[in-house]
Amino acid sequence: MSLLDATREAFRLLFAGDPELWGIIFLSLRVSVFGLLLALLPGVVAGYLLAMWRFPGRRALVVTVQSLLAFPTVVVGLVLYMLLSRQGPFGFLGLLFTQQAMILGQAILTFPILAAYTLAAVQGADARAHETAVSLGAGPLRAALTTLNETRFAVLAGVINGFGRAISEVGCALMIGGNIAGFTRNITTAIALETSKGEFAQGIALGVVLVVLALGVNVAMAILQGEGGMK
């Protein structure tokens, strides 16, 4: 099949609503969204506390979070694999090669993004925002929520970026999901598999979806940054 034929077939699969193809897409979305939601609260709280609290070892933690941004996804997959495999300390949970394991992996991958974006957002926020909240009688939680609300565009940029990383990563999902058809096969692992088999049509179709999602994420980021800049 020529590249042109494969592309034509890819669009036919997409628009014909091929159940296997769309099943993979929805599985990807579900795993990424749940992974993101799992990391959302810890990531934002960690970023906020790192920005607001001064304590010994803070600098080292900030550097660690920032380093984790560029951490290879395949290494996260390797560590999780070792922890979740039958011989690993959490093997008894029976999570390896399940969607739950993939969600956990994507939560670990998105956590540093959420923490780093929140840290940068709160550190870059006008210090008067938190101070004004406190001087008007807000307790620590309300003052924190107010500060996060004042920096919501920058924090949301972290959420969008986190989703972008989760939906597009392949290493972790492949290692701990196992690429099982209909169960743990997501967009990226399916592309890798189909391409290795020489079946380009499904790979191209899924690639188109991934590119559209990546573009959507970037457009959303640009819109948010524009909104934030106007305030």
């Binding site: 101070e131 004004t132 909240a133 008007l136 309300r142 609300n149 305030k231």
Partner: protein, 214 residues
Amino acid sequence: MTPLLEFDRLRKSFGERRLLDLDRLEIEAGHAYVVTGGNGSGKTTLLRILAGLESAEVQGLKFQGDSRVGADARQRVVYVHQHPYLFHTSVAGNIAYGLKARGVNGALRQRLVEDAIVWAGVGLLRRLPPNKLSGGEKQRVALARAKVLEPSLYLLDEPTANLDGEGRRQTIDLVQKLTREGVGVLIACHDREIIELPGVRLFHLESGKLMPLA
């Protein structure tokens, strides 16, 4: 009469530099106090310490005669920044903020916010976001946001700095209204018109010491 706020000694240093070394001070309800002093003399720092926003060595601190200066006492003191920060919500939302933080809800909150809007003359601005307001309007909204909480002591940091014309005039009118309301008002400023308001007790801060001026 028990002072609204008093302390026997207040000291504040930044590293080796001693910024403030004040002896006894009493702030009474129903009076306006103005602190003048050059840039960097510590006026803003003094206000921030009294607002609980900055730490310092303070001896004999009492609020209305009570040395247990806890959250309740802190809630009766409101600090208004030289360049007030308004939250990214409407003017009415900004004025309601402190009431929400204190758990005042429903019709009472709405009524108090309306009263404060009328008091500050910002009725036409009520639905505007802060980025549509001038400096003078922001200052008036900040004063309304403080007033709605009915504090016993206002700490106003340069309320007319960087304002001119109508904005400055309206802000001075509001400060004057406050000074007539039986509360304590401590103002850091250089504005002659505020200094010369009737009944103002004037202090000058220099070399870390606060000196009363006639």
